[in-house]
Point group: C2
């Protein structure tokens, strides 16, 4: 068995910086446990916690680690294999050998972490933890801390981790480029493989194969559907027909666990219909405008607002909305068509660091997330900085239930031409998505080229 | 969205029978919740609990159900979607509509199940539950029962569920045939796709694609490796070379969630080596003998013992062991080469009902599982009955660490020719596995034909 790791200095330096940022107390970072599927020992594919990966790199279940923010003393906790284990799993490195691979010289059995935590508490020291999202870790932390994990002080740690993980290192950008390029290959396979009469799940199978054949996996469950208006559609049982579009939102997680997250919308048949082309072009125009705005110093909230305004300008041109597009965005008109956010941070998680809290990852003490419909789904609002990696993913989604409700309420009817919108009630949805690194003077699109213009897409449908 | 369901009478009849078998008290069955991967809302593919599927069929997260074993009153508990949910997930049937699909007319919000449970407890009634294997359900049950789930009485329920699920209905056998046939396709793809120089994960990708393209998934993580001696080997990073064998243990879960579980061992190059052929033939002989014994009335423990004896006879013929094979099996000699069990029950779970306890599924009050090395890994020992579905999977595994330990201890050296065994230290492993239904007069091999003789396998490697 071979470990996929950066050079050990990468982890040593990251931990040193974390220690400086946190300054005092004991930092406890939990690795993940195996996750049971339909009985205890039938496991889902193991996924290590991303923050644990960031500081310790070890992609193995059943580990935890502490960093003393004052002394710098660092220990990895885990249990050694028995001969019985070796028969089933083969010979694996010891915990001590694994720890050495990432520059840690102190190791101890897993449950010893609890003792260290309790000793620190007994001496009145702060124990910094991250809020657990896996129930196994919730229960373990509750036992070790002798209190619910929610009660432990962790804001200092949360902010320190975000400060580090939000600014991608060159070594990470290389991995993200790789993950996005694999993701692009997944999309090319789907576009080329599509034929009227197939089932959606046959395309999903192809997408997954490309990820797995590159020693990767999916960074999130594939959204691939002729019902693109359903934002998180994981039903893949439809037969696809000429005249429909496929919305494919799929990304790879590469062998180093960095994510890609791309979306393309393409015709089931050889060509888009003229109505599909019209709306596609509006989404693409919004995307191009958003990309042109990306640079350090602009808030992503502003980019989202301008992208929404561009969408409404386009919808105005075809008679679906009326009035001033900027005023319409201020009133929330765009949220009838674009109910979600323009993008989010991306890295070791596809929604990077979502477990640490969107209010800290995507917003700040002074810029808070809006609670209004549509805006509340914008995961990233803060001012962009060099080294951020994010997605740009505008879309138009005709959700019949939402259109019906707004129309019945005559909501914002001075902006919305409901009679014209009614004709699009069963249109479906379009999303286009690429991934970007914020550079000193703008942005850099990550990964290999993936066709996105109408002409490029239709050229791929010549069969 | 379309639900994959049997006719509602199937579920109604199963529940009626369960009610009769349990007789008194309140039965509480937990459906599964979504399972978080690297942050709360990034989920693993949903897998419903198999017992919940068996009695209620609904493949949806966040449900629970009760059956009053006296009155027969049955309720499904679940929460309705909000408009916000619908935007993300699309319009889904209501809980009431879903319940009607499986013949249940009473529904209530999820947390009401707790009230029903507590009312029953307050009236001194037994609440029957199954031991949870997912931590979300452990925590929920602890809250509802006001006690640790381990404390609740459930043996009556466990035995009733096993009695039903162990005897497969005709409608289930059809689904298992389907799952095994998809599994056979997965194996054919792997055998045909293999070329020296490839990575193991490229073959895994192909295997997964076949399952997904049939609207299925994996019934367990693929074991596919040139290190076949590692029984549960989920590392797929090796480059495969001519002269090596691939051991591929992979099965599909079909759209109705029934499992297949097949293993084949084949050469990376065009042909097996003569030494590989020799051991392959020994394993195949053991398998054929085991299959010939399958019939109602024989214990699977006996089948395992005879299969082990056949293995040792073969190993004696090539000089690895000596003495009387039957005596050698009694002494445990076979466990140096065959450390695991000959097979297990299979159905909605690949190790069927493993969550209910091997001591009840595979053994009885009078036939207890052995605690000895090797024997303790035999999941199924009991007398076979018509309608059981099981796997037969003999193998020879040369585990260097185990050979070294036994050799150093001179363990059973009057039976084992350690000098000869040493030459096989790095041989690897061979397993061959098919799935069977126990019929009134013997057994029926499930699913389409998958080549297993040396000649058949090598014919597939002509490229």
């Amino acid at each position: 068995m071979q470990f996929n790791l950066f050079p050990k200095e990468v982890y040593i330096n990251r931990r040193k910086r974390l220690q400086e940022l946190v300054g005092s107390g004991l930092i406890l970072l939990m690795g993940n446990q195996e996750s049971s599927m339909n009985y205890k020992d039938n496991w889902y594919p193991f996924r290590q916690d991303s923050t644990f990966l960031y500081y310790f790199g070890l992609d193995v279940a059943g580990l935890a680690a502490t960093i003393d923010a004052e002394s710098g003393a660092t220990t990895i906790f885990g249990n050694e294999l028995s001969m019985d284990d070796i028969i089933w799993t083969g010979l694996l490195p010891t915990v001590r050998e694994m720890a050495e691979m990432v520059g840690v010289s102190s190791t101890a059995p897993y449950q010893k972490a609890g003792k260290l935590v309790q000793d620190a508490q007994a001496h009145g020291r702060t124990v910094h933890i991250l809020k657990p999202y896996r129930p196994e870790n919730s229960m373990q932390l509750a036992a070790w801390l002798c209190t619910a994990p929610e009660m432990a002080d962790s804001l200092t740690l949360i902010k320190a981790v975000i400060e580090q993980r939000a600014h991608k290192e060159a070594i990470e950008i290389k991995e993200i480029e790789d993950a996005v390029s694999i993701s692009a290959d997944m999309h090319m396979a789907a576009i080329r493989h599509t034929r009227p009469g197939m089932k959606e799940y046959e395309l999903v199978a192809k997408v997954e194969e490309v990820a797995a054949a590159a020693n990767g996996r999916l960074s999130y469950p594939v959204i691939l559907s002729v019902n693109g208006q359903v934002l998180h559609n994981h039903y893949h049982g439809n037969t696809i027909r000429d005249g429909q579009m496929i919305l494919n939102d799929a990304g790879a997680e590469n062998a180093m666990h960095y994510a890609g997250d791309l979306t393309r919308t393409f015709p089931v048949g050889r060509e888009f219909t003229s109505r599909q082309k019209e709306l596609y072009q509006i989404v693409l125009g919004s995307m191009d405008h958003a990309i042109s705005l990306l640079r350090p110093g602009i808030t992503f909230r502003e980019v989202h607002a301008q992208a929404s305004e561009t969408l409404l300008s386009g919808l105005k041109a075809i008679g679906l909305v009326k009035g001033d597009p900027a005023e319409a965005v201020a009133a929330g008109v765009h949220t009838l068509f674009f109910q979600c956010g323009l993008g989010h941070m991306m890295g070791l998680d596809v929604h990077d660091m979502e477990d640490l809290g969107e209010e800290y990852v995507g917003y700040t003490d002074t810029l808070k997330k809006s609670k209004e419909f549509g805006w509340k789904s914008l995961r990233l609002g803060r001012e962009l900085e060099t080294g951020y990696v994010l997605t740009v993913e505008p879309g138009i989604y005709m959700i019949p239930e939402l259109i019906d409700r707004w129309a019945a309420e005559k909501k914002l009817e001075h902006f919305i031409n409901y009679k014209a919108v009614a004709a699009y009630r069963d249109f479906g949805g379009i999303r286009i998505e690429d991934n970007f690194l914020i550079t000193e003077d703008g942005s850099h699109k990550l990964g290999k080229h993936l066709p996105k213009t109408l002409k490029e897409i239709e050229a791929l449908r010549l069969y």
